[in-house]
Structure formats: structure tokens, C-alpha cells
């Protein structure tokens, strides 16, 4: 089953480009939304392996989303996209539990590599949990 990624960014243009790149370069299934308010609903409706979210969004920003997602599904890796020059906030996001961050503008390859690493981490967490149960 292909891995499913949820992408959240309030700018539709960015969503479109991210989705296009992910679908062109990988076999992942990608869902996008420009509306961070509906993230909990989307996560409850379907199972995702990774969330990629912009940091700066109206009403619910990337930081809030980390809290929301961690409550719903603690093991779900989150990659935060930040604007250039906001490294401190990005580090704060990591402290809060984001898996990694990537700074805009970024190379297409960079996001692909970050995603692959996050998904591998998720797989290993799963295997670890399975081993512990045994």
C-alpha cells in the first residue's frame, strides 16, 4: 500500500506544486488542504503516514497543528515548512515534537529526501513497537 501524506499550507499554489512534485517523483498518495481547521477531521477520516505543514498559517499555525496531531496520533511524523530566517521557531517546532523542518525556498530533492527519512523513521518506530510487544 502506498504511503499517504497529508500536506497543509494556506497557499494553494504551494499545495499544488508540492502535490505535483510528490506525485511525479514518488509513489506516495498525497492529500492537500489549505484549511488547517480541517486537519483533525482529515486525520480521523483516513490513516496517514506523514503530515507536512507550513508553519505560518491563519487561525491554526504549524505549532498548533503539532499539538493537535500529537494528541490524535503521537507516532505520526510531522515536517514543518518555515520561511527563510525563522530558524528559532523551527527549532521550537522540533522541541514540540516535529520530526524535522525545511526552509523555504527549498530544492525539490531536499523535500523528497526529508520525506523519505521521516517515513523510514516511522517504519522503524512501528517495528520497534512490534518488537516490544513480543
Amino acid at each position: 500500500m502506498p504511503e499517504r501524506i497529508l500536506v497543509v499550507d494556506d497557499e494553494p499554489n504551494m499545495l499544488r506544486l508540492l502535490k505535483t512534485i510528490l506525485m511525479d517523483k514518488t509513489g506516495y498518495e498525497v492529500t492537500t488542504t489549505n484549511n488547517p481547521l480541517e486537519v483533525s477531521k482529515l486525520l480521523q477520516e483516513a490513516h496517514y503516514h506523514l503530515v507536512i505543514s507550513d508553519l505560518k498559517m491563519p487561525l491554526v499555525d504549524g505549532m498548533d497543528l503539532i499539538d493537535i496531531i500529537k494528541k490524535l496520533e503521537p507516532g505520526l511524523p510531522i515536517i514543518i515548512i518555515t520561511a527563510y530566517g525563522t530558524i528559532e521557531t523551527a527549532e521550537e517546532a522540533i522541541q514540540k515534537g516535529a520530526y524535522d523542518f525545511i526552509t523555504k525556498p527549498f530544492r525539490k530533492e531536499t523535500i523528497l529526501i526529508t520525506i523519505r527519512r521521516a517515513l523510514e523513521w516511522k517504519r522503524m518506530q512501528g517495528e520497534l513497537a512490534a518488537l516490544k510487544k513480543q
Binding site: D10, E11, G27
Partner: protein, 853 residues
């Protein structure tokens, strides 16, 4: 004499402070120049299609760029006391234009409310949305069967919102809506949708809708959204309504229903928080004559998960196509070879117990099928092969794999309902253009340099040594130059690659080369010696390597172009902003068009300000500078009467009447003195002994000399900082001037050199000017000779290189000082040139019998 009186009478307003202030302006101008060039280079790089960026990036960079360039304009204004006042207005004008581009929203094209499907093509997408535009293209340009129908344009959408007074109402509601969670957002969405359903369609639009519907051959219609703008389609699509088998008479109501469906919670969120008008994402609507379907389905012109299988995938159900995609039933599947003959590789016929069918009274409903039909294939093999041919035709026409909706009518006729690009997955990370698997087999000629513009290209080496030779660059040439030259832009439409011995990824030329996507390597020392004219080479700018011959594996590995990225609105915005930013129109400082009022872009402004700032520093008001109270005399064994004014950090000591060469810290000054001290130089002539004599000579000569030459008599005067030198020297009848900045920041580094005068006849002095020009050219300067005046400027070499050249400039000044008297013929000139090249500075060449003995 008033100046002298003033000097003694006025308060301690030290000339040094004024010069320090001047230097401060210059220094800040250089910093802003670097900043501006870096931002421009960064933005150009984003045009390569390898990066993802958003409008936030554009806004930040544009603002930083405008700040830097207006900073330069401000500093130049202070440096030149308002000499180029018009630059401020030009800069403000460009800033405003850039602001407009940033804020620009797509304009809704002015069209009639209705456009018949038979008149549509791809180019009309901004008016009718891509779905209807593509369908028009399929019917009119490819000639495949499509239903009859028409589009209700974006212009009609605008008319509807305005005519029903909805624009203001919607925007007011959006701004006041209390949104704090998903529920409240959905409530607002519902309210707005209801508002749209209740609004009256303006009479003129209603009339147009009814007449268009009446012209269709059937009273039953399919009405569907056709979103305008790729982003809209991608972000909000799939959620918009499609109405099947609805009555033509009710079209105005159906139209409103589709428009209302656009106001989803996602769209509401977008409008509310991106501060755009509701007019910004217009909605077009497609109206098609309903085709009562025997069978329908979807096909992919390639297998998205296995493109290498060379197959077309067709799914098919009885009746209307919705059940083929929504999972209600499992559709028949045909896997058909794309190759001639179209062999059916797989035919999976499923049990299809129900079909979605048109109802006589309107609408659609599921119909239970007889067992025999349910189990039968919904397509004949002939139909499946015909569909395959259509899929390949559509793929060829649209230039990529397609996802196609089709239907088979009651009469067995195939009709195409939609075709859109299919996203074909590649195995993950197959395309990583930058990772190199292996080095080409052939050993490279050059293995260093800085990648200024990526990519690879091959061509014949063309040595480009003089700016004026730009017309002689043949098409497809690999241009190899000592220095980057912005004039190359005149040939950039035909150049394959560029290699320069110095330069940086942010210089003027590179910014232009990036715009033309010419693979460019800079800082490739020795390239003009290693590569020979006419030789065929392959330049791999990514790996900073140059190979002999044509290395096809490098040329094949070109980075893919991503059309999606390039067509995106933010990318287009970047492109438009760069049009106001990057092109360089002021190419040649010697050209009469190198004027403030000719600056058309921010790049022009940076170029102009930088050049004029160097000019302003080049000829300081020496007369005023000499009024400074902080001048020290240099104690030196050189036969020079040399006075120094330190503006900061140029000397180890301060306030001393006499300093030694040991006290000098200034990098360019030390380098110049090293040149003066070269053991091969023979100095001659007497110089005046001290400052007193210096001032008296100054007083005696100030009335018969040009300003700038005035005041020095037989003296030399150096204004210095740690990285700066302005050296004025009057040696006998010769007037020499060197102005230089040498630091770790390569972009700031330059040497301006000037030499003129002499006691010999005009012809001999001109001859010396020509000799100097040739030597300066060889050294990497851009030099001109006019009469007995020679001027040259060299920019953007590294610190080490500039210091070396500065030393040579000192040597050259000493070497040529008395030469004018001796240059009796062209032969002597040639001998001197030859001697200098051979590092013989003794001037024995003037006496051929000695030189040859």
C-alpha cells in the same frame, strides 16, 4: 590664497572628517551593491525550476532588493552631492511597479457570457476554465467527437456576482464571519452558498443562458464546474458539483447551484485569510447536451504505476461513468498494448449488477441490470481498441499522459467528455539529476571553478578577450574569457557555455547568464591558456569540469524542466518581477548611453551607482583634502615626496608628522609600494624635499592646472584606509592616479588606473598611452587611451589577485614615467612592450645595442 586663510581662520572642521564621511558612503554603497547582486542572483536561481517557493519569499526578497538599491542611490547621492538626483525617482518608480506585480491578481478576460464549445480551444482557459477549454481543443483541433454544448464564462461569473450585488455582500460576510473552528467555517460556507442560491440572476445573463440552452439539440443537460486557474482546480476541485440530466429550462438555477458549490470551507478559508477579492478565483461552468450512455468509463493513456509496460488502461461500466470511479461497483478492466495492433493484454470482466442511468423525468438513478447484461463485457474489443487509439492521440496532442473520461452513446458512438494530464509516478527518487553515477571516461582538461549557472553544454572554444569583439562570437560557442563581461549579454542567445578566469556567482554577467540558462563556470584560473580557440569541449558546470570533445552522457543528463512549476502563478510573478529587475541595459561605462536617465531596471541602477561611486572616489578633491590637518609624510628611500592621509585603519599610528613604510597597514598601498620597490625599476629625477616646499609648489601651480591635478607639484598624495587607496602622483610632468579597494569580498575589489601628461611631443605621449593600454589590457584591465590619457579599470578579482595586479600597477607607473621622451617610433614601442612582458623593467630596451648584447 583665500583657501589658505580659511584654513587657518576656520574652526577645526577637519577635512579628514569630510573624507571619512565620503568613504563611509562609499563603503555602505559597496555593501548594498553586494547585497542587491546577491538577492538578484538568488531570485534568478529560483527561475531554474529546481526550487519551490511561495509569495512570502517573493515579497521578502523584493523588499530587501528595493531597500538595497534605494540605499545605493541614497549613498551615491550623498557621495556626489546630488549629481544624479533623477535616480531616486527611477528607483521609486521601479519599486512601485514591483509592488504592483506582487499584488497583481489574474484579470478576468472580457468575453461574452456564453462561448459555444465549437469555438473553444486551450488558449481560452482563462475565460472558460481548463476543463471546457480542453474539451473544445479535443473537438475542434483534434476532431474527436465531443458532446454539443457551451461554456458560461468567467466574465458571466463576474456579472452574476456584481449584478446580484453579491460581491460586496460576500466580502462583508467573509470579513465579519466569526471563524474559530471547522464547524463555524462550515456554517459560514453554508450561509454563503444559500445566499448565492437565493440571489437573482441578472436579466441579461439569464436571457443569454436560456437562449444558449434552447439552441442545444436536447432539453436535458449535464452542468459542471470548469474552474479557472490551476491552483483553484487543484486545491478546491473535486468538491464542486456536477449536475447530470437536468432540464434546460432550469439552467439559471442549475448555474447558481454550481457557483454555490464553489464556496466550500476551503475556498472560504482562502478568501478570508489571503485577503483577496471573491472575484479573484472566478468560476466558469460547462453545459453539455446529456449523452444517454450505454457504457462509460475512464482511461489512462499509460499505466501510472508501470509506465514501462507500454499499456493503456480502460475501466468501463454500463450506463453513466460515475460508478466507474466511485467504487459503487467494480468496473471492467482492459489493459491494452500501446503498440501497433493494440493487443488486449488483459480483459477483466466483472459482475456489474447496477448502472447509473438517465431518468425520463430528469435526474439520474441506479437501474438494476438483467443478470446476463451484468455479467457481459461493457465494451466490445473493437471499441476498446478505438478508445486506445483515441488515448494515444490525446496524449500526443497534449504532450503527456492523459486521464480521459469517455462514454459510448446508445448508437454505439464514442464521445469524449474530458481529458486532463495524468500524473505518472516514477519509482521513488529515480530522477536525481545532481547525483552522478560515474565520471566520464575521458580525463577532464580543467577540474576547478565555481558553478555560477548549472547545466552542461558543448561547443567550440572562442576566446573573448576584448569587450568590443562581442559581435564576433559565433553561434554555439563556448566563450572563454579572463573577466566576466556584461556585454556578453548581446550574444547570449547564441552562446553554449561561458568560462571565465575570475568572477563570482553574483556578478552582472552571471545574473544575465542565469536568465538565459547558459551553463557558466567562473573563477577557472588559466582557462584562457589551457583551452585553445576552435577546440571542441564539453562544459559540466555542475561538477566544475571541462572535457575535451563532446561528452554525450553529460549532455543527456540535463535537468528536467517542470512545466507545472513554470506555469504556476507564483513562478510567473517571479518572472515578471525579474523583468523589472535583472536585465542590464547599461553595458559599457564608456558609452554615451551610460547615463542616469537610461537606467531601466534595478540591475541598471546597481551598475550605474557602483560605477559612478568608483568614479567619485577616483577623483577626490585633492585640493580640499590637502587642507586636512592630519597629513603625515612618508619617510622612504623611494625618490618620492609622499604624503598620507589616513581615514581609518590605513596606518598603525596616528597623529605623526612622519611615518615609515613599516607603519602602513593599507593593503592596496602596501601592494603599490611593493611595485615601486621592484628591484628592476630604475627611478630617476629629483623631487622636492618637504611639506613646506610642497605647499609652495602647490600655490604656484594651482592656477595653470586642471582641478584634480592641482596641488601636488612634485608630490604624491595617498588617501588610505585598511582596504582602500587613492594615490595621486605628480612626477615631473606626469600625472598618475590609482584608486583601489582590496578586501576579502571579491565583488568590492577594483583598481582604477590613470596616467597622462609628460613633457614630450604629443605623438610620443600618445604612443605611451597606447603602450600603457596594451599592458593594462594584458593585465586584465578594461582600458582606453585618448590622446595622452590612458584610463583602465579592473574589478572583482580575488584579494590575492588584486594585490598582485596592484603591485604590477605600481611597477608600471614607475616603468613608464619617463617613457614618453623615449618612444620615438613604433619599433621602440614594440620593444618596450616586449621587455615589459619579459619582466625586464630596466628600460635597456630603449638602447637596442645593449638589449641585444
Amino acid at each position: 590664497m583665500f583657501k589658505f586663510l580659511r584654513r587657518f581662520l576656520k574652526e577645526e572642521v577637519d577635512e579628514t572628517s569630510r573624507l571619512q564621511e565620503q568613504f563611509g558612503h562609499f563603503r555602505r554603497l559597496l555593501t548594498e551593491n553586494n547585497q542587491a547582486l546577491e538577492i538578484m542572483a538568488d531570485m534568478e536561481e529560483k527561475l531554474s525550476g529546481e526550487f519551490l517557493f511561495d509569495t512570502g519569499y517573493l515579497e521578502t526578497q523584493a523588499e530587501r532588493l528595493v531597500t538595497s538599491v534605494s540605499g545605493m542611490v541614497g549613498e551615491l547621492d550623498l557621495l556626489t552631492e546630488g549629481r544624479y538626483a533623477e535616480l531616486t525617482a527611477i528607483c521609486q518608480g521601479l519599486a512601485q511597479e514591483i509592488g504592483r506585480e506582487l499584488a497583481a491578481v489574474p484579470i478576468i478576460p472580457e468575453t461574452p457570457f456564453i462561448l459555444s464549445l465549437s469555438s473553444l480551444n486551450r488558449e481560452l482557459a482563462p475565460a472558460v476554465g481548463s476543463k471546457m477549454a480542453n474539451l473544445g481543443e479535443i473537438g475542434n483541433r483534434i476532431g474527436l467527437p465531443v458532446p454539443q454544448g457551451f461554456a458560461i464564462t468567467a466574465s458571466a461569473y463576474k456579472r452574476f456576482l456584481e449584478g446580484a450585488n453579491l460581491t460586496g455582500e460576500l466580502e462583508a460576510r467573509l470579513s465579519q464571519a466569526p471563524i474559530h473552528d471547522l464547524e463555524s467555517l462550515e456554517t459560514v460556507s453554508q450561509e454563503i452558498q444559500d445566499l448565492i442560491r437565493r440571489a437573482p440572476v441578472p436579466p441579461d445573463l439569464e436571457d443569454a443562458l436560456r437562449r444558449a440552452a434552447q439552441n442545444l439539440p436536447t432539453p436535458w443537460l449535464a452542468v459542471r464546474s470548469s474552474a479557472v486557474g490551476e491552483d483553484t482546480e487543484f486545491s478546491f476541485a473535486g468538491q464542486f458539483a456536477t449536475l447530470l440530466n437536468v432540464d434546460a429550462a432550469g439552467l439559471p438555477e442549475h448555474y447558481k447551484e454550481i457557483i454555490a458549490s464553489k464556496f466550500t470551507s476551503r475556498a472560504i478559508f482562502y478568501w478570508k485569510y489571503q485577503q483577496f477579492s471573491v472575484n479573484e478565483l472566478p468560476m466558469a461552468v460547462g453545459v453539455l447536451a446529456m449523452v444517454p450512455a450505454r457504457a462509460s468509463g475512464v482511461m489512462f493513456s499509460q499505466d501510472p504505476h508501470a509506465p514501462h509496460n507500454e499499456t493503456v488502461l480502460i475501466t468501463s461500466v454500463w450506463g453513466l461513468g460515475k460508478y466507474a470511479v466511485d467504487g459503487t461497483i467494480s468496473p471492467d478492466l482492459y489493459v491494452i498494448s500501446r503498440k501497433e495492433g493494440h493487443a488486449i493484454k488483459q480483459r477483466r470482466v466483472t459482475e456489474k449488477p447496477v448502472a447509473l442511468a438517465c431518468q425520463a423525468a430528469g435526474g439520474v438513478a441506479p437501474v438494476t441490470l438483467p443478470a446476463k447484461q451484468a455479467a457481459a463485457p461493457s465494451l466490445t474489443d473493437v471499441q476498446a481498441r478505438t478508445l486506445t487509439e483515441i488515448a494515444l492521440l490525446l496524449e500526443e496532442h497534449f504532450g503527456g499522459p492523459q486521464d480521459i473520461e469517455w462514454t459510448v452513446g446508445e448508437a454505439g458512438n464514442i464521445v469524449i467528455l474530458q481529458s486532463r494530464p495524468l500524473r505518472v509516478s516514477t519509482p521513488s527518487f529515480a530522477a536525481a539529476p545532481r547525483e552522478r553515477s560515474a565520471e566520464p571516461a575521458v580525463p577532464p582538461l580543467l577540474t576547478f571553478g565555481i558553478r555560477a549557472v548549472g547545466g552542461a553544454a558543448a561547443g567550440r572554444v572562442h576566446l573573448f578577450l576584448h569587450d568590443e569583439d562581442v559581435a564576433g562570437i559565433p553561434p554555439g560557442a563556448v566563450v572563454v574569457a579572463k573577466q566576466p563581461s556584461a556585454r556578453l549579454v548581446l550574444a547570449m542567445d547564441r552562446i553554449a557555455a561561458i568560462i571565465t578566469e575570475v568572477g563570482s556567482p553574483t556578478d552582472h554577467m552571471t545574473i544575465l547568464a542565469r536568465e538565459f540558462r547558459i551553463p557558466t563556470l567562473v573563477d577557472v584560473g588559466g582557462a584562457t591558456r589551457v583551452l585553445t580557440p576552435g577546440q571542441i569541449v564539453t562544459v559540466d558546470a555542475d561538477a566544475a569540469r571541462v572535457y575535451p570533445g563532446i561528452v554525450t552522457e553529460l549532455l543527456d543528463r540535463q535537468p528536467e524542466t517542470d512545466e507545472n512549476l513554470r506555469n504556476s502563478s507564483v513562478f510567473q510573478k517571479l518572472r515578471r518581477i525579474l523583468k523589472l529587475t535583472s536585465p542590464l541595459n547599461l553595458l559599457d561605462p564608456e558609452n554615451s548611453d551610460f547615463r542616469a536617465d537610461k537606467c531601466q531596471t534595478l540591475h541598471d541602477l546597481t551598475r550605474f551607482c557602483h560605477e559612478k561611486a568608483m568614479d567619485a572616489m577616483f577623483t577626490p578633491d585633492v585640493e580640499r583634502a590637502l587642507e586636512s590637518s592630519r597629513i603625515s609624510r612618508l619617510a622612504t628611500d623611494l625618490p618620492l615626496n609622499l604624503f598620507i592621509l589616513d581615514l581609518g585603519g590605513g596606518l598603525k599610528v596616528s597623529g605623526q608628522e612622519t611615518v615609515t613604510e613599516e607603519d602602513i597597514v593599507s593593503r592596496p598601498f602596501k601592494a603599490l609600494l611593493r611595485g615601486f620597490h621592484h628591484p628592476g625599476v630604475s627611478w630617476a629625477g629629483q623631487v622636492a624635499p618637504d611639506l613646506k616646499g610642497f605647499i609652495s609648489v602647490f600655490a604656484n601651480t594651482m592656477y595653470d592646472m586642471n582641478k584634480g591635478e592641482r596641488g601636488l607639484g612634485g608630490k604624491s598624495f595617498a588617501i588610505v584606509t585598511d582596504s582602500y587607496l587613492n594615490f595621486n602622483s605628480r612626477l615631473g610632468y606626469h600625472f598618475g592616479l590609482v584608486d583601489a579597494y582590496i578586501s576579502e569580498e571579491r565583488n568590492d575589489n577594483y583598481i582604477s588606473f590613470q596616467f597622462k601628461g609628460g613633457a614630450a611631443a604629443v605623438q610620443r605621449r600618445e604612443r605611451r598611452a597606447r603602450l600603457l593600454k596594451q599592458i593594462l589590457d594584458e593585465m586584465g584591465f578594461k582600458a582606453q587611451a585618448k590622446g595622452d590619457l590612458v584610463q583602465g579599470r579592473l574589478v572583482k578579482y580575488s584579494q590575492l589577485e588584486t594585490e598582485g595586479i596592484m603591485e604590477m600597477a605600481g611597477l608600471l607607473m614607475a616603468f613608464c614615467r619617463q617613457l614618453d621622451l623615449a618612444l620615438s617610433s613604433e619599433n621602440v614601442l614594440e620593444r618596450c612592450l616586449d621587455a615589459f612582458k619579459k619582466e625586464d623593467y630596466s628600460l635597456k630596451c630603449l638602447r637596442p645595442e645593449e638589449a641585444t648584447s
